[in-house]
């Protein structure tokens, strides 16, 4: 009759511990490598962005036109400002 393997022997535990340390180091190395690789890809595709700046880029809303195309309606102009000066002209309905 053959004897059953002795899993609890000091030699077996030592080998198991050593294997576990190797596996842990390998996993840590793989994770570090993957993180670096992801960082390289992100830096290439989104230059200037940072993982710590979750701001949403400003949207330029477009309104679909009747033809199905989109027309960006935004224009770059400052609104008028209030003034105490006398008007040089009057803007209103086109008078005769």
């Amino acid at each position: 009759m053959s004897s059953a393997p002795r899993f609890n022997s000091p030699e077996t535990r030592g080998r198991a511990d050593a294997r576990l340390r190797r596996l842990t180091r390998a996993a840590a190395l793989l994770a570090t490598g993957a993180t670096v690789a992801i960082g390289v890809v992100v830096a290439k595709e989104h230059p200037g962005t940072s993982a710590t700046s979750p701001t949403v880029p400003a949207q330029n809303p477009s309104v679909p036109s009747a033809s199905g195309t989109t027309t960006p309606p935004r224009t770059t102009t400052s609104p008028p400002t209030p003034t105490r000066s006398l008007p040089v002209v009057t803007s209103g309905g086109t008078a005769r």
Binding site: T75, G92, A95
Partner: protein, 316 residues
């Protein structure tokens, strides 16, 4: 023609005003020695636009295009640009400001220079919706235009603003002076502005004097335009009609707003929104929001609404 030094708080500005296109044209320059030349430039620009775009002149290029409806017609660069601007404004306002309203506005009685319009005893003709701006075909390569037979164009809505932009830029470029041009209340500025900006009064009627305006605002560049349902009106049968046609009905837009004013990157840009807002009526505020432009709307009951950073304070 009148000449005046304007605005005690804006020394050095000189204005020249004269009658043109059934309204008042004004040019203001920041150097008084340039006033004569500025007026000459504005007159030349008005004459050129009138000859290209007038519905009322038999010798205009637009009349030639109407006479050749159904055919492709090569046109001057000025008329082509005016047609292109009108088409772009129609696209930008999703058809609310449409140049194919020519037949509708004539059926309403606006078939001659506005100074010659008299009240008509006839009831309004009901033409229904206008054909739509996509019937206007523009060939940029050939600088040519084509409209189907039976369609007539009215460029009035955008052409005055286009003229103001062109003339202000021309004066500023040629004279090296800050300039403001107003064509019946549609205003464009160009060149170096006065330090505090160009002060512009807001009133239902553009002929209102400095003491009769509702508000005074300043712009430094671009344009400012206004559209009203209470000025440029006439009697047609039992109805009081005005010159802003709703393309969906072919009739005068409902007078929901007394006055809409807007600022823009150009006078064309501003005029597109004020005219569209009148057509959009009670839907105007929601439809204006995506444009992010400064707009002031005076409702028929006197309530004022502002959008896009238009200053709220009315004149006391």
């Amino acid at each position: 023609m009148s000449t005046s030094a304007v605005g005690s708080a804006q020394p050095g500005l000189t204005a020249r005003s004269f009658r043109a296109l059934g309204t008042t044209a004004t040019v203001v320059v920041s150097d008084p020695s340039h006033a004569d030349r500025a007026q000459h430039i504005l007159r030349a620009e008005i004459e050129a636009i009138d000859l290209a775009c007038s519905r009322f002149r038999a010798d205009s290029e637009l009349a030639h295009l109407h006479a050749n409806a159904g055919r492709t017609v090569q046109v001057s660069s000025l008329l082509f640009e005016a047609l292109d601007v009108a088409y772009s404004v129609a696209e930008r306002t999703h058809g609310a400001v449409d140049p194919t309203v020519g037949n509708a506005i004539e059926a309403l009685g606006y078939d001659r220079d506005f100074e010659q319009i008299e009240s008509r005893p006839l009831p309004m003709a009901d033409l229904g919706p206008v054909p739509g701006f996509r019937h206007l075909h523009l060939d940029h390569k050939l600088r040519a235009a084509r409209i189907p037979r039976g369609i007539r164009l009215d460029l009035g809505s955008s052409a005055k603003a286009f003229l103001a932009d062109r003339a202000a830029a021309h004066v500023a470029d040629e004279l090296g002076s800050g300039s403001l041009v107003s064509i019946g209340g549609d205003v464009a500025v160009a060149g170096e502005p006065p330090p505090e900006g160009w002060a512009i009064g807001i009133a239902v009627d553009s002929s209102a004097g400095a003491d009769d305006v509702d508000q005074v605002v300043a712009i430094h560049r671009g344009g400012l335009a206004s559209s009203s349902t209470e000025v440029r009106t006439w009697q047609m049968g039992n109805e009081r009609v005005h010159h802003i046609v709703d393309p969906a009905t072919g009739c005068s837009s409902a007078p929901y707003w007394r006055l809409v004013s807007a600022a823009g990157a150009s006078c064309v840009d501003a005029n597109a929104l004020t005219t569209a807002a009148v057509v959009w009526g009670d839907q105007a505020i929601e439809r204006l929001r995506p444009y992010h432009q400064a707009v002031r709307l005076l409702r028929h009951d006197g309530e004022v609404f502002t959008l896009g950073g238009w200053p709220g304070a009315e004149r006391p």
